[in-house]
Symmetry: C2
Subunit: 194 residues, 2 copies
DNA sequence: AAATGATGTTAAACTAGTTTAACATCTCTT
DNA sequence: AAGAGATGTTAAACTAGTTTAACATCATTT
């Protein structure tokens, strides 16, 4: 089982003993998903926090008009789940679906308390991970408030060049909160400008 | 020094020994601000995480056109700061200003590591606080995506009735991401409807 | 190579929310 | 009680982004 990328990621914030690494390894598992498969479904209780080893996922919800809205993408070395559902074990607001064949490290709700008890430092690691996620989320709200759709697209392209290449345009439009037609218009404007 | 409300809030997630409470008490302090005073200023490094004992604050930023955008309000029993600035000790994106005379418990960046070392459980407490803040922030993004301005206003009114009464309408408009003129229009529509 | 389904483009008509500007009301200070 | 400053309202002209609908392109399957 190859959890090395996760251990490497953890080691940026805390250092674990060999025993702790062994314990962590014994409590998590790796799971493969095919393109199109769901990791979390809206309405189900989210049982896992997932670390992406390879592949790509989208987190989205379907609104009352049946429209899909993409909240985030996750690629290698990112975390994904429906945190609201996970922490309170209530029905998920979001779906998480694989956009490519993917390999994830799964941390179950059933073991996460054991992990925190045996490896108290993990509490710190996840605190820091969530702090960063919160800051990123606030910054996204700021961008929504003060940037035009075109500016938001340029920001996305600059910030996540790797993601843009792997994902169809209409999903990027959904992530930006605009229609695919309008994104298409923005792109043709940008081509004319340069 | 009255930190009882904070201790009460902490006790919902973890339990502290008398010694730990004493240590916590020795490391934090209470500070009073007058209406209009700034707790954090855009561009400065945010030195504190603040727990609101009494009063009310707004967190906002000024965009490149000089427009103010309100990110959040904080009242009794809420936390406030510029977390992005605090965790990485870099210049703040946000201002935090008091809308009423306020009393805050201040936790300095200089002592927060001591606190985590002496009271490891606090790591858990803050992890949970930030998890909730992150979930709330994601839900706000969802509302921005799928609700009209009127629906967002109704949600705000239902969710934070206490805040609405304490704050001028134009700040609520700013929080919702709309102009004060349009909020005024929404309100007159709502009056006609009922 | 034809057919199918998924993705992307273009353009016209439309709408939610903005801008501008004038005016109304309220509260605090003197 | 008069004036000033902050807050709130109304309405007309405007614009960023949506909707609808038709068509273009590309990859995959048969």
């Amino acid at each position: 089982m190859n959890i090395a990328p996760l251990l490497n990621s953890i080691s940026k914030y805390i250092s674990l003993t060999d025993k702790e690494i062994e314990y962590l390894e014994s409590k998590v598992f790796v799971r493969k998903y095919l393109k199109g498969q769901y990791i979390v479904q809206q309405g189900d209780v989210c049982k896992y926090e997932c670390y992406v080893l390879s592949g790509c996922t989208k987190t989205f919800y379907i609104d009352k008009e049946g429209q899909e809205h993409i909240i985030m993408f996750s690629i290698e070395d990112w975390w994904t789940s429906d945190m609201g559902s996970f922490i309170s074990q209530t029905p998920a607001d979001f779906n998480v679906q694989c956009l490519e064949n993917s390999e994830l490290i799964m941390i179950s709700y059933d073991v996460v308390e054991d992990l925190y008890r045996e490896i108290p430092q993990l509490e710190r690691f996840f605190r820091k991970i969530v702090e960063r996620a919160f800051v990123a989320s606030q910054k996204r709200i700021v961008r929504n408030f003060s940037l035009t759709a075109k500016e938001q697209y340029l920001y996305f392209r600059e910030q996540y060049p790797l993601i843009e290449q792997r994902i169809p345009q209409y999903m990027i439009a959904s992530y930006l909160g605009i229609t695919k037609e309008f994104l298409s218009k923005i792109k043709s404007q940008l081509i004319l400008e340069q």
